[in-house]
Each structure stands twice: as C-alpha cells, then as structure tokens.
C-alpha cells in the first residue's frame, strides 16, 4: 500500500522473501546488475516456484511488503492466478516487484532457471539465487524476439533495449570464459559465445 514509485530498497524486499522462506530465482534488471551489467533498474523481478506451499509463503511475504497490484485491481495470490498472469506487476513498501512465472525463453520457469542459478552474497546476510548469465541472455533474446512481433514505437524501443542487454551479457560471458580459460578452468556456459 505505501508505494512511492521512487522507493527502491531491493535488499529490504529480498529480505522479506527470505524471512518467509520463499523459493524463487532472481531475474531481470537486478539479476543482470548483480551479474555485472552496467544499467540502471528500478525494481525487483522474481520467478517463484509454483509449489502450493511456496505460493502460500509468497502470499505471506507480499502481505508483509504491503503489496498491491500496479493496476490497483484486487491482488489474489494462488497458483491459478499466477499462471494466468504472465507478468504480475506489484507495488510494495520497498519498491516495484514483478512476479514472472514463466519468463520468455524458459520452460517451466523456476525449475528451468534454477539449474543454472547460483546463490550470490549481496550484503546484509542475503544470498538469493540469481539466474545465470547465459539464462539472462536467453531471456533477453527471447523477449526481444517477442517484442519484434508487436507493433508500435514503444515495443521497438523495448526490443532494442533487450537486444542491448543480451549483447552486454554475451560480453560478460566472453570475459568470464576468457578468465576461465586463462586459469585452465573451462566449463560449459550452456550456449555458444
């Protein structure tokens, strides 16, 4: 309910999810920043597990965060509602939150992303699971493709933005791959670079 659009406290928001034991993978702009992109983002995007117990815990966390829908309609948090809404945009006391159950380019959302995700220390004792660079690049590329099917300038602007994110993530993969090669620790990055 208290939702100044300028509020941005990602640690506070993630701490509420942590306190309520919510299982999710961090995706979107914040995940990209944590992976090393140079962009500004103003919200937190998560892909939660849709197991009944987890949806229940997510509901509790959202309550604690005084979450409300960005479109001001009534918020219902259950598996069916989440599945019906590809991107649930929320305003919370800690800033904007997007709940995406099946991000572009993934199959079965959480289960798919969790394989490549790693826990990252982001301060204040928080260690969220963050989507891998390869998965983030895959999501941006898929989103750019989807936006390419839509008419209008705004869709085109967003498409260009996603293409730029995808390129930046590929540069990060190349940099990481180069470092791994130098150290003799080559590993599969899950896609061609």
């Amino acid at each position: 309910m208290a939702t100044n659009e300028e509020v941005f406290d990602p640690r506070g928001l993630l701490a509420a999810l942590h306190r309520n034991y919510v299982s999710y993978v961090l995706i979107g702009g914040l995940a990209r920043v944590i992976r090393g992109t140079d962009e500004l983002t103003n919200g937190v995007d998560i892909c939660p597990s849709l197991r009944p117990r987890n949806v229940e815990l997510l509901g509790k966390a959202l309550e604690e965060l005084e979450a409300g829908r960005a479109d001001r309609r009534r918020l219902t948090v259950d598996e069916e509602s989440l599945r019906q809404e590809p991107v649930l945009r929320l305003r919370t006391s800690m800033g904007q939150l997007k709940v995406v159950v099946e991000p572009a380019g993934t199959r079965r959302g959480f289960e798919d992303l969790r394989r490549g995700a790693t826990r990252e220390h982001i301060g204040e004792g928080l260690r969220p699971e963050v989507a891998s660079v390869a998965d983030l690049a895959r999501m941006s590329a898929a989103l750019a493709h989807e936006l390419g099917q839509q008419p209008g300038r705004e869709a085109e602007r967003l498409r260009q933005l996603e293409i730029e994110h995808s390129r930046e993530l590929r540069r990060i993969m190349e940099a990481e791959f180069g470092l791994q090669r130098t150290l003799g620790l080559e590993r599969d990055f899950g896609m061609d670079i």
């Binding site: 920043v33 301060g123 963050v130």
Partner: protein, 101 residues
C-alpha cells in the same frame, strides 16, 4: 611493439598508405629520416604529439586535438564491473540511482 606506441604507429602507417606514399617518400616530404619513420610505424618508439601531427599533415591529414570526456567503452566498463563483488555491484546501482534522483 609496446602497447603505448600502438596508436601512433597505426595512425602513421594508415595515413601514409592512404596518401599513397612509401616510407622513403614520406621521409622526403616530412624532412625526417626514413629509419625514424620506420621505427615510429613499428612502434619501437613513439613520436611526440607535435611530431605526430607534423608527419600526418605531410600525408595530407590532421588530428583534431581537443579535450573530450573520457569514455572507457563497453568492454573496459564490463571488465571494471567484473572486478566488483555482487554486493558492491548492488551498492553501485543504489548509489547511481540516488545520484540520479
């Protein structure tokens, strides 16, 4: 070739080739010794800015020398950010957003 002499060496060689001059011809036009031109192009030594401009002008080119804000480019920026821990990357985002507002 030393890293800090690469830029002037590349620039000089490109200017000479675009002007269609041999090293000997450029030496005659610029009044420098041919071996000096060769050493500049090989990056063995770097010319001073004044000498660089002088030789480029002998090739029919100029380099505008003016101060502009430094842009490290995407690859260097990424390399710098990669040096930070995830925690510091998040702090950096929060600071940048605060500065902007």
């Amino acid at each position: 070739m030393r890293a800090d002499t690469v830029r002037s060496a590349t620039l000089l060689r490109e200017a000479r080739l675009r002007a269609g001059l041999s090293q000997q011809e450029l030496a005659e036009v610029s009044g420098k010794d041919r071996t000096v031109i060769a050493r500049y192009e090989q990056g063995v030594v770097a010319p001073s800015i004044d000498t660089l401009v002088e030789i480029l002008r002998a090739c029919g080119f100029d380099v505008p020398l003016e101060l502009v804000p430094y842009d490290s480019g995407p690859d260097e920026r990424i390399a710098q950010i990669q040096m930070l821990s995830p925690e510091r990357r998040l702090d950096r985002l929060i600071d940048r957003r605060r500065e902007r507002s």
